[in-house]
Symmetry: C2
DNA sequence: CTGTTAGCGCTTTCAG
DNA sequence: CTGAAAGCGCTAACAG
């Protein structure tokens, strides 16, 4: 008695077995030859390669993930896509990771710790091969979640303490904030407001830099701090500008924590007939698209986010391959860009 | 003789079998109960649910994809993330798809047919459950690739011929272009330039709309077409503005194919002391962030991309579940937003 | 309505 | 350096 016939479930896809048969070797040899894992006779490798190419073989990511308990996904967590900074970052990440055979899973946290944790849990189900997260600060449970995932992680945009044992590519947001404030002080400004929205970690670090410089100059005054938890936008920048220039005694410069706010402020100044920088200087942060086109062009801090993306992706690649990483922390620096608004 | 002992490869993850054992049913019943596939005794469903919750069970996407030949990924192809339009679109797509249990795989084509095809091939390896692509026009081989994937597809931002049998959510870019041109004509403008960059399909459709309106008014003149294949940006808008206002006889209005160009033009006008709209009117397209903040505020066409994203995702969801779709083509319309620049 | 059986396509483990 | 066997965790197919 033979077993009753069953409809095969095959997908029509070219499989490893097909290649093995064509190259007249065992499936596992094909697997090894194609991945470059363990030593395989060069002659066999060539034969396998040829057969794979001829048949148009492409490994099945799902099967691979199931068998190896590791997918070819890299999960990336960023706060917001409407901030051009993260778009540039992502672009650089993808263009490094994709040629290496990794698919990026993008998770947008909306600056929300709860959503970040939720996204992380969802993404970890896919057993990503690596993880890219924005910033260092997050609630302890989320941190544990990341640690227990047992996956290489690189932190973006900030710098960790050297002893922390974390991998990161970024810059000192505080130092950058301090540098911009010093620039404004050097220009002779005394009452320099700091205006921020969103109030994420990096914004607060810039705030700390501003405070530091102002205190050292003996010019710090809490009423100069304008902190608005609302999401950052051009429109909000305009609103904040109006509020701030109404302040008495008047401020002579405003340092916005992000260029979109500063751009909105410059436009509001135009509408109101407030002269920049004569009546009040304006500075931003990140050197986003359009800042050089403003009237007057916006003084800002250029943060090399494309470099952050590229270097972080490269570091993660090394970690995922088990290769040694030269330095766990890479400081990409920043650049003061002085334009007409200051 | 017993077989030699083997180290188990288990991952420590809670599996379907664990739940089955805990609920004292067979694994397949757990599978069916949790997916809601086929009818399962409500009492059993409850027992399974309870056990799954208690154990913290989460299905393994890789195993599921391998067994069912369908992943929980949805591939989304968009031209560019630096165009805020697509960021808004994506945001809406994700917020519809994620609660339904789907992971979005974002592919950025950079307006390049070759890159689009390549991305598509990569993404199809992951056996996505559905596909979202921008626009209708693409080379025949790519079209075939999509068709042969055997996956539901929804096209974004444009409208297909009713008979084409394609699913799409969008608007008539041509009608919108025509409407804006008519508005400018109504305002008394006669020499209305059309200025475009990137020159993708949707831009060309807007151009066609402008041509249509200009020809009907007996005012069409090929020298009024300023087409620049470079990527769209604020800076380019400024450059194009300078070129166009140098033209003799002078133009009295410029219709830019996208708001970023128009914003750049408005800023260039400010720098040059050209009065808008008195010396020349300016109009844009898409109503991007900041257009309402410009000086003067920009007249534009609002395209409801969040609605496109949400509706397209909802349509795809229905298709993926095999549910009937009311209309294969959804026209979300557009809205003329008349502000100070015209 | 529930269960048994047999894979999905790949890689790990253990032998040669 | 190569291979055989045994799963990874799940669902499709086919009974009962």
């Amino acid at each position: 008695m033979t077993a009753p016939p069953r409809r095969p479930r095959s997908t029509g896809r070219v499989t490893l077995d097909d290649v093995a048969r064509a190259a007249d070797v065992s499936p596992i040899t094909v697997s090894r030859a194609l991945r470059g894992e363990r030593a395989v006779d060069p002659a066999l490798v060539a034969r396998v390669r040829e057969a794979a190419d001829r048949l148009g073989y492409a490994p099945d990511p799902a099967a691979r993930a199931l068998a190896s308990r590791r997918s070819t996904h890299v999960a990336v967590l960023i706060p917001m896509l409407s901030n051009a900074l993260f778009v540039d970052l992502l672009e650089a990440v993808q263009s490094t990771l994709r040629p290496a055979g990794y698919q990026t899973l993008i998770g947008v946290t909306h600056y929300d710790d709860v959503e970040e944790a939720q996204l992380l849990r969802e993404q970890l189900l896919h057993r990503p091969a690596g993880l890219l997260v924005t910033g260092l600060e997050r609630p302890e449970p989320t941190r544990r979640l990341i640690a227990q995932a047992g996956v290489p992680v690189v932190h973006l945009m900030e710098l960790a303490e050297p002893g922390a044992g974390l991998h990161c590519v970024g810059l000192s947001q505080q130092a950058a904030g301090e540098a911009m404030t010093r620039h404004l002080l050097d220009r002779g400004h005394r009452r320099i407001a700091f205006a921020a929205a969103q109030l994420d970690t990096r914004t607060r670090q810039r705030l700390a830099g501003w405070r530091q410089a102002m205190q050292q100059a003996g010019l710090h005054d809490p009423v100069l701090e304008w902190l608005n938890p609302a999401p950052s936008s051009l429109a909000l920048g305009g609103v904040m500008f109006e509020q701030i220039i109404g302040q008495r005694p008047p401020v002579d410069a405003i340092f916005f924590c992000n260029d979109d706010l500063a751009q909105g402020a410059l436009l509001a100044a135009l509408r109101r007939g407030v002269r920049v920088p004569q009546d009040v200087a304006v500075a931003g942060f990140n050197d986003l698209t359009g800042s050089d086109q403003m009237v007057p062009p916006l003084t800002t801090v250029r943060t090399p986010r494309a470099e952050v993306g590229a270097q972080a992706a490269a570091m993660l690649l090394a970690l995922m391959r088990g290769e040694p990483v030269a330095r766990p922390g890479v400081d990409v620096g920043y650049e003061l860009v002085v334009r007409g608004s200051s």
